[in-house]
Amino acid sequence: MKREAILSRRQMLTRAAMGGAALGLAGCDRLSNATGSRSVLDAAENLTRGAQRALLAPRDALAPEYGPADLSPGFKPNGSVDPDDPDYVQARDEHFVNWKLGIGGLVDKPTQLSLADLRQLPARAQITRHDCVEGWSCIGKWKGAPLGPILTAAGLKPSARYIAFYCADTLEQTLDGTGQYYETIDLVDAFHPQTILAYDMNDEPLPVAHGAPLRLRVERQLGYKMAKYVMRIEAIESFDKMGRGRGGFWEDRGYEWYAGI
């Protein structure tokens, strides 16, 4: 008699605990989607950006650089690896000889730069660690033209607050065209010495899988900020009207605009 009573009490407690856990999990799913709780969760991003920028600001600190012995034998390409957008396919088949990088938006002197033009500019080479938001890391050598001097030459208007990168690849098929890859960074990152437009990877021309002919490197943030297949750069005041308004392809799909962690 007594034993049964204890058992059923134990069963009751176990059931209550399991029921509670299931309710909790369902609650977390619900909170993940409700706009109110979502904006509370998302507030942490501003805290992280503020704190990390405060730690980095006084020193324009550089991301760690590695030696040639550290290069990854198989640097993993991610996202688009072989875009089939017709304009891109044509440029690729012409080995990018007619390809030009457009620079415009809120600048005094809009320009166009060919690959040869870019290669003539002062270059920076760096061996850095690429951290994917998924969790893995690879080390690669990048050579390219620092973005800061290019923007200075184009003459940023005072209203410019962000730099936008328009890419050749459609990563998701959508009806409204918001599946086209794009990214935005602020001027702190745009003028950081390690922020370069890379045309070489591991001492070879940038392969298609890694963003040929030109990709962005923003070494103090995660991989999705480093737009590949860059076609056009614009200085802008706000990214509200681009894509779905969150400042990038992955940002439009819930990821943080500030990807410092």
């Binding site: 999990l25 509370v40 991003e45 992280t48 020193r59 991301a63 198989g74 951290d131």
Partner: protein, 286 residues
């Protein structure tokens, strides 16, 4: 984690006629930080496992050596149409279908998944949202921890967790007592015993380490403090240490909860809610 700094003042409350004495054991600050910590721990663990599922493999060193993971949770095609969950640790593989590598989704279908959906926040695969939860509660955990540790030092409570040499020599005896489920009574119950001290102390060390390893995975933090990556042996090593520390704390929490259950569940819960703890007077019995 109940890193409960004891506010033990033996003078509170004289023995009751029934041989019990009520003492004031935990201050409001300790009780509040304890429960906030417990909430953060559960949510950080579950959102962390969601993040882990985006690339369910761990490595050592600076980068991912994809063909030589320390740990990998994968799915393989079985002989028929079904898939099998496979866990690989140090090159040795085990079938773990249903829990690790492959488990059932809402519709009951076996799908490729590192940890199963009942262990992750959200329950479905969504790295972006998992990260939002993780970093929100990481901030709360850190702010809560700063309050707790400041109080720990300001009130000189760290010594409550530091065992004396005599206590350390008595560890085997204490283990025997625990194994017989004999718990201290009377004045002995006014202080943590040596095993409790060591367990709580290890958490006071492990949690900051876990946080530091988490911060080391940030490329921005690595630019600001490059020595952090060196300290942990590389970013992927930091990720592995983050994972191991998280599961060390899971182990602590399980033992902690079992001890709370068997050493007077109601009394313990009441003391962590109201601060008041009842001590049985007299000699311990078998």
């Amino acid at each position: 984690m109940s890193v409960s700094a004891s506010e033990i003042s033996p003078n509170v409350g004289a023995p009751h006629s029934d041989g019990r004495r009520i003492i004031y054991r935990h201050t409001l600050l300790v009780r509040a930080t304890h429960w906030i910590n417990a909430l953060c721990f559960v949510l950080l663990l579950m959102s962390g496992l969601q993040i882990f599922n985006a690339h369910p493999a761990l490595y050592w060193g600076a980068q991912s050596t994809f063909d030589k993971p320390l740990l990998a949770l994968t799915a393989q095609q079985g002989s028929d149409d079904s898939i099998q969950g496979v866990t690989t640790i140090f090159g040795k593989s085990f079938t773990t279908t249903g829990i690790l590598g492959a488990s059932r989704d809402e519709s009951g279908q076996l799908t490729e998944r590192g940890f199963p959906s009942w262990m992750t926040i959200p329950s479905y695969q969504d790295l972006a949202t998992g990260r939002r939860w993780h970093f929100f509660f990481a901030w709360l955990l850190v702010l809560n921890g700063v309050v707790y540790v400041t109080n720990l030092f300001a009130r000189r409570h760290l010594k409550d967790f530091l065992p004396s040499g005599r206590e350390l020599r008595a560890i085997p005896a204490s283990i025997r007592e625990h194994a017989r489920l004999r718990f201290p009574r009377g004045d002995e119950a006014l202080h943590y015993n040596v095993l409790q001290k060591l367990a709580y102390l290890s958490v006071i060390v492990a949690l900051p380490l876990l946080v530091l390893a988490g911060l080391t995975m940030s490329p921005a933090i690595d630019a600001a403090f490059p020595w952090l990556v060196t300290l942990f042996g590389g970013r992927q090593a930091a990720r592995t240490i983050h994972f191991i520390m998280a599961f060390y704390l899971v182990g602590f929490v399980i033992v902690h909860i079992v001890m709370v259950l068997i050493s007077g569940f109601l009394n313990n819960m009441i003391s962590m809610i109201t601060g008041r703890y009842a001590i049985e007077e007299g000699r311990r019995e078998a």
